[in-house]
Subunit: 432 residues, 2 copies
Amino acid sequence: MGRKESIGIGLMGLGVVGGGVAKALTERAEAIAAQVGCPLRLRKILERDLAKTRASKMEPHLFTTDAAEVIGDPEIDIIIEALGGERPAFDFIKEAMGRGKHVVTSNKEVMAKHFPELLSLAKEKGVDILYEASVGGGIPLIAPFKQDLSANEISAIHAIINGTTNYILTRMAAEGLDFSSALKQAQKLGYAEADPTNDIEGIDAAYKLAILATLAFHTEVRPDDVYHEGISRLSSRDFRYARELGYAIKLLAIAKEKDGSIEVRVHPVFIPEDLLLAKVDGVYNAVQVEGDLVGRVLFYGQGAGALPTSSAVVADVINLAQRIKLGVSITPSLRLDPTKKIKPISEIETRYYIRMSTQDRPGVLAQISKILGDHLISISSVIQKETDVAAQVAEIVIMTYPARESAMRKALNEIERLEVVKEVSNFVRVED
Amino acid sequence: MGRKESIGIGLMGLGVVGGGVAKALTERAEAIAAQVGCPLRLRKILERDLAKTRASKMEPHLFTTDAAEVIGDPEIDIIIEALGGERPAFDFIKEAMGRGKHVVTSNKEVMAKHFPELLSLAKEKGVDILYEASVGGGIPLIAPFKQDLSANEISAIHAIINGTTNYILTRMAAEGLDFSSALKQAQKLGYAEADPTNDIEGIDAAYKLAILATLAFHTEVRPDDVYHEGISRLSSRDFRYARELGYAIKLLAIAKEKDGSIEVRVHPVFIPEDLLLAKVDGVYNAVQVEGDLVGRVLFYGQGAGALPTSSAVVADVINLAQRIKLGVSITPSLRLDPTKKIKPISEIETRYYIRMSTQDRPGVLAQISKILGDHLISISSVIQKETDVAAQVAEIVIMTYPARESAMRKALNEIERLEVVKEVSNFVRVED
């Protein structure tokens, strides 16, 4: 059997994720050793925040503030990067692989921005890099794409992969809260950061979608390729109409491939309320995948937090350690097809929900429908309600049949210029 | 790089699963070769049914009716067993491993009954056996248990792993059908077999649960260890009461571990209607797992059918082929803890729903509650309805707090002997 007496681990970062990982590795050392065939030894922890190292129960001699001490330690086989953020994490990962270390990372930003480079480097250096925790916390997602679904042509991913926004939308839907109150609640409970931009604008979800789409479609999808739009424009009125029409509103990360052309986008979506995805509430995540053999599968669980994330990180560590112990070197197999094109958002086709505030007088709907018709957009249903009888203001909600985004944008511009239209209050894409 | 020019495949069985696998391997040969690094070659197909071989588009020279020709072929590296049933599949698998072949199987019965033996034999012979398709069709389940969730202590599995019964229960719930009509519908649509015993009595689900529980708890769980009870006693009345009380009725496969003691059981269950598992309808399957790190995760998809099952089989084949191509031999790591005990059904504790037909006169409920109280069973809610005023018949439904199964059985025996009780129509366990 294997050639090593123990496997050396270096940990970078003792924050929420790193702290959880250190605890899990320590507390379940025996069970992990039984799985690997030898013990894992945590040899160095990089942490510059002295408050964190002092508060930690780890032995003080493990700590260093110098990354080179971790990367250069010949006793370390696997480096766990739990720093987050692009720099210096990306540099450390590259240096570590350059020194022949295997890497486990939970860093979505680094993986989303540098996927092909890191996998090529790993291949060149004869090491592996695993990143299960970078998307969906502890939910198995990366490994299923790499292995279990590998026989499939994947046609679509519909994913709730940001817990903060899903929590906010759940509160808005259940309690009729407006966006800013729901955000404040989320911040109070620690589900949203003081600066929530990355979450509520869909940037976090775009990173994660870039990783999933790259794996699913075997093509490089960069975060910049992902169209993203946040949830702050949604109002309690939109939720009321959604319910009336039989829909839920979710911030979805959507990736589709058709005829070699890929669309990748993150934005609020109306989805039929009887879809399983519509019932994923609170901080939970879910990723629905469509493959030509497997059909529709869905993975559900907690997408963040110290424990779920450490579940994924430690599983990756065990996986690598087992291979090291067996003396097996498997480098990542990278198969990227450069011929696929990313479709700009203007070219997508989807159904739309449009909510407008108009004057309450005859002929308004006729003017609006004419503009839509001119742009070849067909209406599937209309709700018109008086909202202020005295001021003669009405609200019109239109659901359309599939239309091209560019046509819809032009139509909405023209509709907004109509004298009888006070404003186009919101429009939301619809997925069936 | 690897030592082989191609990987030889032998296929046993060209039924629903085998036919789907042959088609997938043929149609996507190029994509699979790109993933493996060399082509896979289907070298022999065992099929005794001449009608099937004649209807097949596979080249006639591939077919044999002699298993030894497949097992003995030196060009074959991986044997796919898609025969189903315990014998002769089990013998063929053992012989194949004895000849140094890796095995991929979709055979739940063989895996459930012979798990430790097959994994020990694989280890001894330096080969691997993969069986992702044996549970949940194409839904990634086995690999997640072996890898992604490997850092967790698993405490519970709640699974819908039989599509036939879930389809029947969905029709009963949605349309108020009785069991026999719903079964006939399922048979008409090909979702249930002419002899549906294995499905509706929970035997199929018990096989699958034995496999999942063995993996989750690192202990041998045999099909005989799994208590199973079918769905034929459920009536449309039970579904009406379930809805009234806020529950759905599902045939669940449940495995739990607490303090080194394991309970494994398949039976109808009341589950709260807002659980995601309650919304899994039709022939779909879902497996909910609770781990101490990851929390609650759920995997959802089609649990049967040629395409979903071949998704799992071909993924296993690709996985093995990649390792063969790299010259890597990884045998299964088998870690079974013999100290854990299987709890008999009489010792489980759960809540219960009880439906009784009684005389409609004063004091009936008092007599029933007294018996429950004598057995330390507390009532959480009661519904009493007149069902036949003329005959003075009433129906009483009782929901209890957690009670021990043995106490409940005794109490029900005594209740049935009460003069005022016409019958205990049904009792169903409740999971929250």
